[in-house]
């Protein structure tokens, strides 16, 4: 006779409401890399509290965002375009990610230090270190990053994110 797994009603409820997930469960059916590169001037010029908006992304708009991971030089160095991510993991505590939906509401705000693939989740090295989300209505070009202290950030350095998503069902 097959073993039946016992699950508490609370765990069952929170799982069905997508508040929690088993850390070994699949994250998404697709993943995409998104990059922001700081510049000396212009819309990506370094300045505190300025919103650095992401480029419009037809794939991510309308998709269900299931996970976000910030990559550092530990994971990839250099980046495919030849640039590099921020120098030190400590610098990520000076940046915030703002996720905004189609109604213009800020749905989530997170320090980038919490999204770093190499440090944010230390749960067992065998598991993917990805912060899970359940976001349905995110408009990518409305989402942005802010910096509240530019010390340690140099023009030409980049932020690189892995965005885990489920494609919109047509």
């Amino acid at each position: 006779m097959a073993k039946k797994q016992l699950v508490s009603p609370l765990i069952e409820y929170m799982s069905s409401e997508e508040m929690i997930t088993d850390i070994t469960s699949p994250i998404s059916d697709s993943v995409k890399q998104v990059q922001l590169t700081f510049a000396t001037s212009g819309i990506y010029g370094l300045q505190i509290w300025k919103p650095y908006y992401f480029n419009p992304d037809a794939t991510l708009n309308g998709s269900s965002i299931k996970g976000i991971q910030a990559l550092t030089r530990t994971e990839v160095d250099p980046l495919p375009d030849g640039s590099q991510t921020l120098t030190s993991a400590d610098v990520y505590a000076k940046l915030l990610l703002w996720l905004v939906d189609s109604g213009g509401d800020v749905v989530a705000t997170l320090p980038l230090s919490e999204l770093i693939a190499s440090t944010s989740n230390t749960i067992g090295t065998a598991f993917p270190k990805v912060q899970r989300f359940s976001l349905e209505d995110i408009i990518w070009q409305k989402c942005y990053v802010t910096i509240h202290d530019t010390v340690g950030i140099t023009a030409g350095e980049s932020l690189l994110f892995n965005i885990y998503y489920d494609k919109e069902e047509k």
Partner: protein, 140 residues
């Protein structure tokens, strides 16, 4: 093993206004989105300067070295102090194996939540303790 899925999150600040003191309750700074009593809180995480050096309102976050001097009390809409004098060290993800503290979802009453200092040494006036509240709205 289960861990958090973020549906919505907001940074909530508790500021040490005036000379930091051990006998005082420090409430949350105004946060209109979370003060409508329609917020179902299911997870919480605390930030010191190691995770976030300044908040979106420009306040300095307390030093990581001071994290063992702060406790938090959370109150729901039934005035139940369902988390009472909880050390924030246990809410810092990097200190608890990467897990976010989860609890039975309940309607939070942010106006009644507060933090207290068990020792004010090293804590500067107007510094804040920052939390990320993970929640969904009633009816979502």
């Amino acid at each position: 093993m289960n861990n958090l899925i973020i549906k919505r999150s907001q940074i909530v600040e508790f500021q040490f206004t005036g000379t930091p003191s051990t006998l005082k309750r420090y409430g949350a700074l105004p946060n209109p989105q979370l003060q409508r009593n329609n917020v179902i809180l299911y997870g919480i995480e605390c930030f010191t300067a190691a995770q976030l050096t300044a908040t979106p309102t420009g306040n300095t976050v307390i030093a990581d070295a001071d994290k063992d001097q702060v406790v938090v009390t959370l109150v729901d809409t039934n005035k139940d102090q369902f988390i009472y004098n909880f050390p924030i060290t246990s809410l810092i993800r990097s200190d608890v194996g990467g897990f976010v503290t989860l609890f039975k979802p309940r309607l939070i009453n942010l106006n009644d939540c507060y933090v207290q200092l068990t020792d004010a040494t090293g804590v500067a006036q107007d510094e804040v303790v920052a939390f990320n509240f993970y929640y969904q709205l009633v009816g979502e």
